[in-house]
Symmetry: none
Subunit: 119 residues, 10 copies
């Protein structure tokens, strides 16, 4: 399923691959469905990365994230999958994804996932 | 007693065991009974862990924590027991539990417990 | 049911019935059960009143409110019932009860109820 | 379309119709689709009402609002329709609905609609 | 000049002309040129109105406001012209426009303009 | 009992009885004993008054309030008694006393009492 | 002296004399000299007016205010003189001037002056 | 004693007696001695007045207030005396003096005094 | 004297002596008497410790601290004595006591004392 | 294109090249066009640098940044280009550029680029 979503991610050539620099992208309107109850979940995703040859294009990121709107996924899985998809699409030097989800049943969850390019 | 509670904790396979990542779960609606007076106590539990093969499922965590609603326990014991139960259920790479309890008799108490998987 | 709870409310003679004055009591640890799901609800009750011949005693108020701990009740009903019980017990010159409940399913509710002694 | 959605709204008898009191319900997770672009919109709805014979049930309100998740609607229309549906379902003494929507194209919009039962 | 800009404003039929309600639209990205120096000016426009038969469409409002990007105009004139254009396009029951402009030469200016439909 | 305490209150002649003016005195270190449990209570007293012929002297006020340190009293009674004592000692044109007490058993109480000299 | 300063104030025709509207101009960089010590004073001037046939031009206002840089003037005098000059130049329907001066010798001063066109 | 202090207050002619306007002066560095203990007291004085024929000169106000540095005075007296001295020196149309004193013995006091010129 | 107070401290067996964990207890209602003036002092005590075989029981801690209510002690002495008593009662692996006292004569004092079990 | 823009940047000799010190320049009115949609983008640029022999002149920086007003550029490219231009013009010892752009499609982006002079 992620394979189909991942294809939506478009990139453009990093305009400064010769330099390590940081891009931080904050997406406060992420929503998916709980795989157990079918109820909507909401959260804020914060992506921080050092690009290598590719940057993700924001409109395509938005389209990619909207695929989860009617898709069931656990917080832990969806945070890891999105990191994997973003890593696969952009092959960054490093990337961190923080998923901060709104409370459910009085319980609030954050998931923090990191990727570092092998040396 | 904890043995019975512990059985309520359900897990699901960690979707990314090949990667170290962090899950932070905040439960502001914890309540139990004081073992001396029988009066209700209230507190916020914050669980931070790096999962290994298993993650705890949030609905079952909620059900598990609700067992303490009519159960008498000292702050120190309950914080340690909950950490033990969560460690037993999920066998994480590491886990920290912070219990921050509301004031009683004008005195406020926090308990901080940590677990690290033996190498 | 409320009849039984109401009996727990103790009062003491208003030490200054000859004077209109205001007592504000804030109870941030109210908890009851949702009558549909059986799940715990949490909230803060704020009682503001001008006593006539009786004041409610705080320890008995606490005992009274603890009766709702394992009792199912809708927010609207419980707020009105508690006001009625407090009015029945203390016969105040006026009383307001604000119930501010924690979010459930991403939705948060406040209920505001007022009583004024007929002239 | 609204007719079908409206049927999801369940009510329960107002436990205190003999008394004017106020219920305030805050829904920060409202989402619908823009009817022109098909893109998701997000907002917070705040409903304040004095019930007459009926109160809306929160779980059914949540289900009702979730119908808009994949439904196209202008802010102005959706705010008025939801007020109409809530008024039709509960026949309140009065009701106000504030829709506060997140920015689109750098522009942010609030819509405020009121209903008062004819004397 | 405004005549040409004004044509960009699109409206849609007010979905609830039978009811007085309020729409508040906040545009923090307004920019025009100073007619004396040719330097860019920046400001936030806040439009508050009670629609009659027409509402302005937000995308067309954005396009309309972007026409001022390379257009020279005094604060006082531009605020009045935009109110006139919005009134001409939507014929509202009432409308207020607040223009809050960023400092120039250490001096900051707000302009507040109101329209009320003649009885 | 209060009679003995009251004698500790010293006054000095109001230096400007010909003029209505306001004195506000805030005492955050008030402590007394709960008459039921013998446990200490803590609170902040705020006295606001328009003096007539007498002002209370601050050091004697402090000494007076310290008498409650080992004295049992309900919040409602102690707030009214202190107002009465201060009124008896200073015969003010008007006086308000706000007692804000720290939480006990998770419940917090404020008492507000006013006095106005008969015309 | 003011006469010479006043000539620096330029106006432009009010683009909407047919409508009462409000212009608020905030000048945080006003500086003059203390007439007694020759030391610089600093302050923020806030001008709020309803224009009639003329608006003051901001660049000329800046030039006008800069004349006070090496000019000795008491706060009270300078605030009144500037209001007079602005009134003389623009003949507004009404105008308020608030001068808020920074502390000198540990003492801070505000001066508020108003003008209303005779009916 | 105040007679001697009062002579230090210098005034200058109100530059705009023909107009009612407001001057607010804030003096955060007032210090005097407690007449009972000889200990220093600290406070902030805020003077707000509508001048008639005279304004007080700030440097002389500072000199005047410094006389209290080694002078014993009750809060209530000193606030009234200073108002009287300022009224005597400037004969204002109206004046308010707020004295806000720092805590002593854990008790904090504010004194508010007003003067209005007889009609 | 302290010997008698110390006997009030009750402990219970540390439920997890096999694990190093941290207990933080905050007591904002500490009050004692100044040994020179006999006047009450107020402060907040924060105790942080890693228990060994014993934890102190909170109700007994409260009773123990209340003994200082009518007891004269310097800040430095009382902070050290309380640490000694808590160490004697619980024999912890380590303990820190922070005493933060309210201002006296415009001066505020904190005392920090630490204990570490000899290896 | 940047070559032409870059020529607008003027510098002046660093008055203290013998010392490492930091200059921080904040430009909250940066605007360019999205290269995909032609729509305006807005952002705040924060430049922090340790100058070597040259400092950039602020008026020329403003003129330089205004060139982007009607120029299409991705966030990542424009941030890197501006850093390069500023580095080329001033040859600093080090420089950081933070571009914080306003939300588009509910997504907000920051770009952080650093330069360090080779040893």
């Amino acid at each position: 399923m992620s394979a189909a979503f991942r294809e939506l991610l478009e990139t453009f050539p990093n305009p400064y691959p010769q330099r390590d620099y940081t891009i931080e992208t904050i997406c406060p309107e992420f929503t998916s469905l709980c795989p157990k109850t079918g109820q909507p979940d909401f959260g804020t995703l914060t992506i921080t990365y050092v690009p290598d040859q590719h940057c993700f294009e924001l409109k395509s990121l938005k389209m990619y994230l909207q695929q989860y709107r009617n898709h069931g996924a656990f917080y832990e899985a969806v945070t890891n999958i999105i990191l994997d998809d973003l890593v696969a699409a952009t092959q960054p030097r490093s990337m961190t994804l923080l998923g901060a989800f709104t409370p459910r049943g009085g319980i609030r969850t954050n998931v923090i996932v990191e990727y570092k390019k092998p040396a």
